[in-house]
């Protein structure tokens, strides 16, 4: 029996050390990939326009990956992040177009919707004791319906030229939406690394028994995690509104699986207790690089999915090997 115990300790020991190494490896891959792209495209990718596009379209993947990471931290999943992003985008756009609300009111409203749906997810998980996967599967269906309910299959555009101009603007040569995503990532990092609430959430995810004995409410951690996940989906929705200039109810359809890919590549465990904001961001960047490479070389876009699949599996395999090797 002590063997079981020791092996348990050993696997856990692997977790933290291998996480830092995962971040390092991802950073190296990101730098190498970017350099390789820059060299093979004769510096094309470094031109202001291209670089802007690279970073602009990195914003939503980063935030959506974080939205999933937050619930993975407590060992849960949130299947509704994608459609919720769409719903929040539609709500913001609708408030501006249909009711003429100014952006500075419509944006918080979009965020509030995200947080509320997240709160509902969390409360449902805690109250019903049903697996979070199933609960969010159900709310995903509901949210997806609501998303279409706002404007059917119609498209909102020209809701706020000011906002869209801001979404396409640069500060210090960097796109505003990208900076917003980075700011969000920093906030999430501070939350997990420094805030009491964030630490409690991680404690619940890492060892619910110890957390309970330390006076931490695991139920509360679940609700907080889901609410935060919803809020981040709201942020992603707002970024889409600012970036795209036109939104319709299909926003978010293709975000669910990528939302898992980024944290998983980034070294976040499905069992909870460990997060990596940096890893998630780097993973999103690497996936984005694959996209860029496809566009630059004019490769069939279908290869992108294939490569992303390989990267997901490869990343997990490599970190697992290392986890084993280090013990």
């Amino acid at each position: 029996m002590s063997a079981t115990l020791e092996s348990e300790v050993r696997t856990r020991r692997g977790v933290t050390t291998s996480l830092h190494r995962t971040e390092l490896v991802l950073a190296a891959v990101a730098v190498l990939g970017f350099t390789a792209l820059a060299v093979t495209t004769q510096g094309n990718i470094l031109q202001a326009g291209t670089l802007r596009a690279v970073l602009q379209f990195l914003a939503v993947p980063i935030v959506i990956g974080l939205a999933q990471m937050v619930v993975l931290a407590v060992g849960q999943m949130n299947l509704s992040v994608g459609v919720l992003t769409g719903l929040c985008a539609m709500v913001s756009a609708s408030l501006m177009s249909d009711t003429g609300l100014p952006p500075w009111l419509a944006i918080p409203a979009g965020l509030a919707v995200g947080a509320l749906v997240g709160l509902a997810n969390g409360v449902l998980v805690v109250l019903t004791r049903i697996n979070g996967f199933i609960v969010t599967l159900a709310t995903m269906s509901v949210v997806s319906g609501l998303r279409y309910g706002i404007n059917g299959t119609g498209t909102y555009q020209d809701y706020s030229p000011g906002l869209v101009a801001l979404g396409r603007a640069d500060v210090l040569g960097l796109p505003v939406v990208f900076l917003a995503a980075i700011a969000t990532a920093v906030a999430v990092w501070v939350f997990f690394a420094r805030s009491v609430a964030g630490r409690m959430l991680l404690a619940s995810g890492g060892n619910p028994f110890a957390a309970r004995l330390s006076g931490i409410s695991n139920d509360r951690s679940l609700v907080v995690a889901h609410t935060l996940s919803g809020l981040l989906a709201g942020v992603a929705g707002v970024l889409v509104v600012a970036l795209a200039g036109s939104v319709n109810a299909s926003v978010g359809d293709d975000l669910l699986l990528p939302s898992f890919a980024a944290p998983i590549i980034g070294g976040v465990a499905l069992t909870g207790g460990v997060v990596s904001v940096l890893g998630t961001c780097l993973a999103a960047f690497i996936v984005r690089l694959v996209d860029v490479a496809q566009a630059q070389y004019g490769i069939n876009p279908r290869w992108v999915d294939l490569v992303v699949g390989a990267v997901v599996l490869g990343a997990v395999l490599v970190s697992q090997r290392r986890g084993r090797g280090s013990s």
């Binding site: 004791r129 697996n131 509901v142 319906g145 279409y148 309970r212 679940l222 499905l270 699949g309």
Partner: protein, 379 residues
């Protein structure tokens, strides 16, 4: 003094299922209480009262909905307009649900269920297009390809020990690309234009179109028997066959299964291969219903694949499945869909309804369980 330690270690190393709610303290406490301090000797029969059986609830709800829809819209009982297409939908989604059920038995998931269907359908389409294969050969090709890709998923999971969620997620990405590339290369677009002989009949005929003398068959689409056969075989596999039961035992406790002489690795591969095979069958059936082998087959399989078994009372934890429940779950969602369609609800309202039904059904299930526990019966 090993006794205390045993309990401690057990709590610590209690294997966490990938998505199991960690903080579901109550449930765990209940379970642990049930396990740790059972009365010695005989305890009450574990058989839940009939009303705590989710299948019964499903039948009642389905019957109520059918009554409701048909009283609101008599067209709901129209054979050609509603009932035949409804049966076709149900047939496909039962098989899709069974494909997911096959791995839920292990406590695993198959996120690539739709893409496995797409790849299988592609293979069948290729057989018809390039090799003028007869209808049944295409079916066999689809099944074989599906089973093979499922087995690959299972083998990766066994060999690497990576979570099934991650492996099938990666596989889904990969297959998404592969399927599109294959259609590009071999069909010059997104679909095969060839239709094998017999496809049109399989698609639109019912047994009513076939008569022996004056006696004609019931208005049941020709596709339905495919689902029925799959249902019965899956039910027998998990209920009665050695392999199927060993899969369930592996799902119930991997370590106990290994120590009972079950080849757990092979059983994981078996379950995933079965999942792929059923996904292949579903892909073939959907291609038949659509009348074309296209890259978009399987796109919408993922959610229904979970809906049907979960509504039918199969847990994500593994170790227990209900094939019949899956069929009822698929029936319920299809009935809701058709009914709301007839009542001219938009697609969005429909999704909301399905989501709410799922939540309500599961919450009721939970209430039933709690009530049953209070009556001294442990679920």
């Amino acid at each position: 003094m090993k006794e205390t330690r045993e309990v401690d270690v057990q709590a610590e190393t209690e294997p966490r299922k990938e998505t199991e709610v960690d903080a579901s303290d109550t449930r765990r406490r209940v379970r642990r209480r049930g396990v740790e301090e059972p009365p010695p000797g005989a305890s009450p029969t574990p058989r839940l009262p009939w009303w705590a059986n989710p299948r019964v609830g499903l039948v009642v709800v389905i019957a109520a909905l059918v009554a409701l829809f048909s009283s609101a819209r008599p067209a709901f009982l129209d054979v050609d307009l509603t009932l035949v297409p409804l049966q076709r939908d149900i047939s496909v989604f039962v098989v899709v649900g069974l494909a997911q059920l096959a791995v839920l038995s292990l406590g695993h998931m198959n996120l690539a269920v739709g893409r496995m269907a797409a790849l299988s359908a592609f293979a069948a389409g290729l057989a018809y297009d390039r090799f003028d294969a007869p209808l049944v050969v295409g079916l066999v090709v689809a099944l074989v390809v599906g089973a093979a890709i499922g087995a690959v998923a299972g083998a990766i999971i066994t060999a690497t020990g990576v979570n099934s969620f991650v492996v099938t997620l990666a596989l889904d990405f990969g297959l998404l690309g592969v399927v599109a590339l294959l259609y590009d290369r071999f069909a010059g677009g997104v679909a095969f234009s060839t239709r094998p002989p017999g496809m049109d009949e399989l698609r639109s005929d019912t047994f009513f179109d076939y008569c022996i003398g004056p006696v004609c068959g019931p208005p049941v689409p020709l596709l339905l028997p495919f689902a029925l056969v799959a249902l019965v075989l899956v039910g027998l596999f998990f209920g009665r066959s050695r392999n199927g039961r060993e899969v369930l035992m592996t799902g119930a406790s991997l370590r106990a299964a290994r120590l009972s002489g079950i080849p757990v690795g092979r059983r994981v591969v078996t379950a995933h291969a079965l999942s792929g095979l059923l996904a292949g069958l579903a892909g073939f059936m959907l291609a038949m219903t659509n009348g074309a082998f296209s890259a978009s087959i399987g796109d919408s399989f993922l959610l229904p694949s979970f809906l049907a078994p979960v509504l039918g009372g199969t847990l994500l934890a593994g170790g227990a499945v209900s094939a019949l429940g899956t069929a009822l779950g698929a029936t319920l969602t299809s009935v809701i869909q058709k009914g709301l369609n007839l009542l001219q609800f938009e697609a969005d309202a429909l999704q909301i309804f399905i989501g709410v039904v799922l939540l309500v059904a599961l919450s009721l299930d939970r209430v039933r369980q709690v009530l049953a526990e209070r009556r001294g019966v442990r679920a």
